[in-house]
Symmetry: C2
Subunit: 452 residues, 2 copies
């Protein structure tokens, strides 16, 4: 109760983004005496680590992308707004969000920016039309159409060269995502599609992983990297290390080997997972803070308490923050969300903002599946691979999937695909056929991104 | 064994379409001494009766659209080609199919045309951009984006009028599809979305069904029609009978009442399920046969043996055939497929084509779900509604879903939605937001169809 007539206003927290950072930030504020506004440009919380399974026909979109507002339905202090953040004013403490004809200026007391990152083409943005990345639901559905569609297109061509080109699949980038998607393309061809065609033999598809460095998944260390590579090669994947992609067009791509020689790989499907570029909101924030920089990937170099210099109420977390030793993965985002909300909550109860302990990242390890029943895991100094690592992968991903319904559905989908050889989500839209046709017409020219 | 060097050629059956007619035709030829080529412009077999559940977030696309070539994988005498049929030559017995840069002329001895139908706007094709139909997977995903997106757009607007417009949903056409989709929009708003917004109350959404005739679902008879109507009204649906749609634009539609008065309904989401137009292949075939006509919907008026006059080897089945008393639904297509393939098989064994018994349609009844736990069923003279009818609907649809995997997945999805209030497939793509933006800009102008 206040004595005068002024209505006491609750502390307002604005969260930008609905990924692991944004969603967990909102959730951790559930019992706090604050009003939370979560602004995101998609209506769902995307479980990005499983996106490659949507692209390769194992999971449905609903299983990995539940509606954010349904997750937060019962959290009465949280509202969810669909919109694109087009402005952040650190001085006046406002965020400007747009949707269609609507523009809203949302005031904040604390701001948590978890706007994430997108694919980076290192300045060659025209590659994108030919080699889509895998960051959004749209990307995954487009890739599903391209991958399954390439087999269909190979089935009907009468030219042996063109058949070979259509049956060649190239994944650029040997990080965990690249390894996972290339492994699943190989298993899709070898197991799910085997016997389903008459003119072609899908098991003869050529599946290639291109990595600029000297090993796949460098952060996993040379031992596990080699283990993953051997497993991929056993699946029939050609792993090309020390190889740079210098050009991409409709018909294929040009690579440069370590010795400087260049040659072409003719291929229909190209998947880009070679790098990330942080949301432009990172730069927007850094510009407003004296002494705050962004790194080469556009990530904000934050203070030890994950804020930007001079603005202790503005936290940057997840893929948008640059903290040495913290990889751009779910655990870092979740821990950042927990840390930021903890500061907000304790300072509301009187703690001193200048006495914050620095953020400390707890490395719980990392993992990647190479194929069914086979994964690699690194937990501290412990490194292991194979079936045990795969079981660990299975358990952990189920644990992090949001919602009991999605966990049950995913278990069932995995049962079908990994024990059987079926895939429950091979549906591609008609639109894909037309997009291919459009691409076919433009051939090697630059083109607006094809529609999945 | 043949005595001379000539390789004995098997009888070639070309099937056009992968719906109920086309798929079942191919399957019924499994043990026949023929080569089957199934040509379709989608890669899946679509279970159209459940498309409305994809549009309203209950089912995933994979559950109702499994890949045709996987279904037919083990049928060694069948090949599946993705392609659009652009030519049929009854004289020379060839079908011309196109995909991308590829064109193939496929010869046939027998032809089964099951190319289906699409939405009809009765000459007002410009309505389509504003009021999409529900015939394909693309349609359903687009509608899902529009329906769920309208609630998001209503949440952020500050104009009361615009909020009301965005929360108004109109379904045009009171046939089974119209009734089913309008019922699910009402349940989505009332049950699934209740409590998930802060500025709007989804249960206050206005949901309207417009029907030009004097009753919903006329073929079901007045008693069941009224029953369905009462149930819809109990869900809060406004049922407007004897009402014609005379214009549709971005902002809403204009209707004409029975008394001749015209008025506007301002609404964001418009779903068109008012009529069907058969595939243009119908006309293409009829033109080549003396004395064969197409009806007003473009369906081929076939002979008593489902063939076109003068071409006893060319069968037209499913939604593309016009036979009095046979509704354009799955059972008619399946029975047509069985009949046509039976003639082909027995004549290969020596039966006389001129002694064919005419096709006889066995009316197994029809049904439609109005809402969870409530359906209407008509089997011969037996008419019933309510929970028992709903159980019958459930059993029958599970029976006809192709593949054990899809049956189990659908049961689970229905369990979640009908016993609980969740919906597992509410994911909409980012692209939708941009499509909406494009539509917003063009306002009332004619526009290319929006992207879901």
């Amino acid at each position: 109760m206040t004595v005068d007539n002024e209505v006491p206003r609750r502390h307002r927290v604005v969260v930008i983004g609905s990924g692991f950072g944004g969603l967990f930030a909102a959730k951790h504020l559930k019992r706090a005496d604050v009003d939370v506004t979560l602004i995101a440009k998609t209506t769902h919380h995307l479980f990005q680590p499983l996106l490659y399974q949507v692209a390769t026909g194992i999971l449905s979109v609903g299983e990995i992308a539940p509606a954010t507002r349904i997750i937060l339905r019962k959290q009465k202090n949280a509202e969810v707004l669909l919109g694109e953040v087009v402005g952040i004013d650190l001085e006046n403490k406002t965020v400007t969000s747009k949707l269609l004809d609507w523009e809203r200026v949302v005031p904040f007391d604390s701001l948590i920016v978890a706007a994430g990152a997108q694919q980076s083409y290192f300045g060659n943005d025209h590659f994108e039309a030919f080699a889509p990345g895998m960051k959004t639901i749209d990307d995954a559905l487009e890739l599903r159409g391209r991958i399954l569609g390439a087999f269909e297109a190979a089935e009907v061509t009468t030219s042996a060269d063109e058949r070979q080109r259509r049956l060649t699949f190239v994944v650029v980038g040997g990080g965990p995502t690249g390894v996972e998607v290339v492994g699943q393309i190989a298993e899709l061809a070898d197991r799910t599609l085997a016997g389903a065609f008459r003119a072609i033999n899908p098991t003869e598809a050529r599946v290639i992983l291109i990595e600029a460095g000297g090993a796949v998944m460098p952060p996993m260390g040379p031992k596990l990297g080699l283990k993953a590579q051997r497993r991929l090669e056993k699946l029939g994947v050609e792993v090309k290390l020390n190889t740079m992609v210098t050009d991409v067009d409709y018909k294929g791509l040009t690579v440069k080997e370590k010795d400087g020689s260049e040659h072409r790989i003719e291929c229909a499907v190209k998947v880009w997972s070679a790098g990330v570029q942080a949301s432009p909101l990172g730069k927007l924030i850094a510009q407003q803070s004296d002494g705050t920089e962004v790194d080469r990937a556009g990530r904000v170099v934050v203070e030890p308490d994950l804020t930007v210099k001079g603005h202790p109420n503005v936290f940057v977390i997840g893929d948008l923050m640059s903290v040495p030793g913290v990889p751009g993965q779910a655990p870092g985002a979740i821990q950042g969300a927990k840390y930021a909300t903890k500061q907000i909550k304790s300072e509301l109860k009187g703690a001193d903002p200048s006495a914050r302990k620095p953020f400390k990242y707890l490395d719980k390890g990392s993992m990647a599946t190479v194929s069914r029943f086979s994964a690699v895991c690194k937990v501290g100094k412990l490194e292991f691979g194979g079936f045990i690592a795969w079981l660990a992968w299975l358990g952990l991903h189920l644990y992090y999937l949001v919602g009991g319904r999605n966990r049950i559905a995913a278990i069932f989908s995995w049962f079908v695909t990994f024990l059987g050889r079926g895939r429950g989500q091979m549906t591609i839209t008609e639109r894909w056929v037309f997009a291919r046709r459009a691409l076919e017409q433009v051939r090697d020219q630059e083109t607006p991104r094809a529609i999945g």
